[in-house]
Amino acid sequence: MQSAVFRSLLFLFPREFRARFADEISDYIALQYNAAQPAGRWATARVSVPICADLLIAAVKFRVSTLSVSRVALRTATTAAGLGAGIICLAIVLVLFEATVRSPLLAATEYGASELDVVIRLCALGAVLVGLSAWYTSLLPRPQKRR
């Protein structure tokens, strides 16, 4: 009965934690419980109740700490991805705008520049913008990896 209660309390912990420590925790509880059992029910209860409370409190604390870490990681990752994607989109828009609507570079052909030269300049502009966005994204803090 008690072992079923302890086992069910272990399910409050994350799966990864259970996979790693459930056997050891069960072993720990069994040692405590078996040591108290010969002294009677009262002694057993004096061991069981603190263990249950400890498991419950530890599980809640652990869940909360894990939750806050993953939230920070998620927020950082989303911010980095959003800003990086935004800068890349801006770069693409600028390049397209340059190539189609305003086209001062294309207008250069009127002043004697070859079309190949214009294409090379556009590619260089695009590369600079993509490089800048990649550099900016690399400056952002990375989400912490869970070991």
Partner: protein, 110 residues
């Protein structure tokens, strides 16, 4: 700052490799029963210490099989440094407390 249960674990592992239950017993003995880590607190703290790289798990050997598959843990050099830093910080706090006449009575010192 290192949480107290993690610091107790690091201190317990300073002189010898121990498995979870032995760490709990050692801490209880060293503190004369004043600090008792329950299974939840002990293993979540072990997990924290493992993640922080303060301790590492020793591979199971055949000699350990009689220990019911329990894993032993060893203090890493990083863990030793972190514990020393934290203890130095606590030592400074104690010195400040002494200057302010806040030192605990000798029989209650752990």
């Amino acid at each position: 700052m290192i949480p107290s249960p993690v610091l107790y674990i690091l201190v317990s592992l300073a002189d010898e490799d121990r498995h979870g239950y032995a760490i709990m017993q050692d801490i209880r003995e060293r503190t004369n029963g004043r600090v008792v880590l329950g299974p939840g607190g002990l293993y979540t703290s072990l997990q924290r210490a493992l993640r922080a790289g303060y301790i590492r798990e020793l591979p199971l050997r055949s000699a350990d099989q009689d220990a019911r598959g329990r894993r032993a843990y060893r203090l890493t050099p990083e863990g030793r440094k972190a514990a020393q830093r934290e203890l130095a910080r606590l030592d400074n706090v104690i010195r400040m407390a002494r200057r302010g006449n806040l030192t605990p009575a000798t029989d209650r010192e752990w």
